[in-house]
């Protein structure tokens, strides 16, 4: 296996790992969103979904550890790549114009760090509930927990902002995975870029719809 670690530790290999783990995390975002959207079908739907997940027992933990592994791999590669990117230009330009570099691509590190901070906050908020002991009294009523959580305007706004940043991250990240994996074809390039950006927007809108609907009292 030495050959694999050697290759994956090179600059191109690290980008391949970024792309594959990024796509896996995108898969998780889709599944998590589909589950969350059952919130709009009422308390029975989302509470039932949560109960089904918990009933999986050990499988949930397997999935959680796999997800943690993927997240850590994506994050550690990002840190390594960023450090070498910063080191590659020790003296900055006095005057530099970007002709093609998108704002989203320039913000990848910042949006990525914000997502990390958000994930930690989100885990504490709704999963571990360390600083939200009041949720423990709800006896698994996820529906009420969501409404209570997002009825706090600051919390809801923080979620909305974080999800917008996630959307910005995906806006560059998703189409970029194809290039990192060597997929480039004049017949499909437009579709790859369009679908990548489309899913970035759809995911952002999908997740934001939940805190927004609670914040504006559409769902009480």
């Amino acid at each position: 296996m030495g050959w694999l670690t050697t290759k994956m530790n090179s600059s191109v290999g690290q980008k391949v790992v970024m792309a594959i783990t990024g796509l896996m995390l995108f898969g998780f975002l889709i599944v998590h969103l589909l589950g969350n959207l059952s919130f709009f079908r009422g308390p029975e739907a989302i509470n039932g979904y949560a109960a089904t997940l918990h009933s999986l027992g050990a499988l949930v933990w397997v999935a959680r550890f796999m997800l943690l592994g993927i997240f850590v791999a994506h994050l550690s590669m990002a840190i390594k790549l960023t450090i070498s990117n910063r080191a590659a230009r020790p003296v900055p330009y006095v005057n530099k114009i970007f002709q093609k570099t998108s704002v989203a691509s320039r913000l990848m590190v910042i949006t990525g760090l914000m997502i990390l901070f958000f994930v930690l906050f989100h885990l504490n908020h709704y999963t571990l509930k360390w600083t939200y002991p009041e949720f423990n009294d709800l006896d698994g009523d996820v529906y009420r927990m969501i409404i209570m959580g997002f009825s706090q305007p600051l919390t809801a706004l923080f979620y909305i902002l974080a999800i917008i940043l996630l959307g910005v991250h995906l806006y560059h990240g998703l189409p970029s995975t194809a290039q990192s994996l060597g997929i480039y074809h004049k017949k499909y390039n437009c579709a790859i870029v369009f679908l990548g950006r489309f899913f970035a927007v759809v995911i952002a809108i999908g997740y934001i719809s939940i805190p927004l609907s609670v914040l504006f009292g559409i769902i009480k």
Partner: protein, 250 residues
């Protein structure tokens, strides 16, 4: 044309550089950018000051010697043009010029605007060649090459190795250069036997030289005076995956 020219002045590799401002009057719009620097240098010499050091050779846009980031863009604002072929008429309406060297850890500054681009030579030495003598031209139909592959290989081969891709990239990545050199050979039958070894060695050397990583911003393609496509970077990635997972290369 009158200009206020801000130029990066740096005595040598180890000294600290800084931007120095010069006033320049009566520049003809028919002059090339380098001729404008020649005029400025004559004035500096006349005042017993050190002239600005800059790279140049053919002044025809084909050798890859000239460099400089002009008003924030490598080789200046005109698309698909080297600094030597940039004419002052393209800078109509511009009053201030910012002239800086290509900035990258892998391209140390030798003096003023002159940078050491031998890192590119070492990447080529690592594998950017065909080891055996490919012989003289064969009968045209002896070695069939699809037209599409021949065109793409030729397009990649037009890379003059100037380093504008590195200068333009926010990460100072050399991926466009390396990918062009890999593509021009990978697309042809003569380059095929060594393709797996080639990509491994060239990427390894690129990393050792201290270039940054490609984050797919395509700034390199926009700055390239030869308009090399980022399709080559995807091909490099593909060649790299092939050499990792399919070939016997270790």
């Amino acid at each position: 044309m009158d200009f206020k020219v801000h130029v990066w002045r740096q005595k040598n590799r180890n000294s600290q550089g800084k931007m120095v401002t010069y006033e320049l009057a009566n520049i003809s719009e028919e002059m090339s950018f380098l001729e404008m620097l020649d005029v400025l240098n004559e004035q500096l010499i006349g005042r017993n000051e050190e002239p600005i050091a800059f790279d140049h050779d053919c002044r025809e846009g084909i050798c890859g010697a000239c460099s400089a980031v002009i008003n924030g863009v490598p080789h200046g604002p005109e698309h698909g043009t080297t600094t030597c072929q940039l004419h002052m008429r393209s800078l109509k309406g511009v009053r201030e010029l910012f002239v800086e060297p290509f900035r990258s850890r892998a391209f140390p500054i030798i003096k003023d605007l002159v940078v050491d681009r031998s890192a590119f030579d070492r990447i080529i030495s690592a594998g950017g060649y065909v080891s055996v003598n490919a012989g003289s031209a064969q009968d045209a139909n002896n070695l069939p090459v699809p037209k599409e592959a021949a065109d793409k290989s030729f397009d990649a081969a037009t890379c003059i190795g100037c380093g504008a891709c590195v200068a333009a990239c926010k990460n100072a990545s050399a991926m466009l250069f390396v990918s062009a050199k890999i593509s021009q050979l990978a697309l042809l039958p003569q380059g095929d036997p060594e393709r797996d070894r080639r990509v491994s060695k060239m990427v390894k050397q690129m990393d050792e030289e201290g270039f940054g990583n490609c984050t797919n911003t395509y700034e390199c393609e926009a700055a390239c005076p030869k308009e090399i496509s980022v399709e080559n970077i995807a091909r490099l990635n593909c060649e790299f995956l092939r050499s990792t997972f399919i070939s016997n290369e270790e």
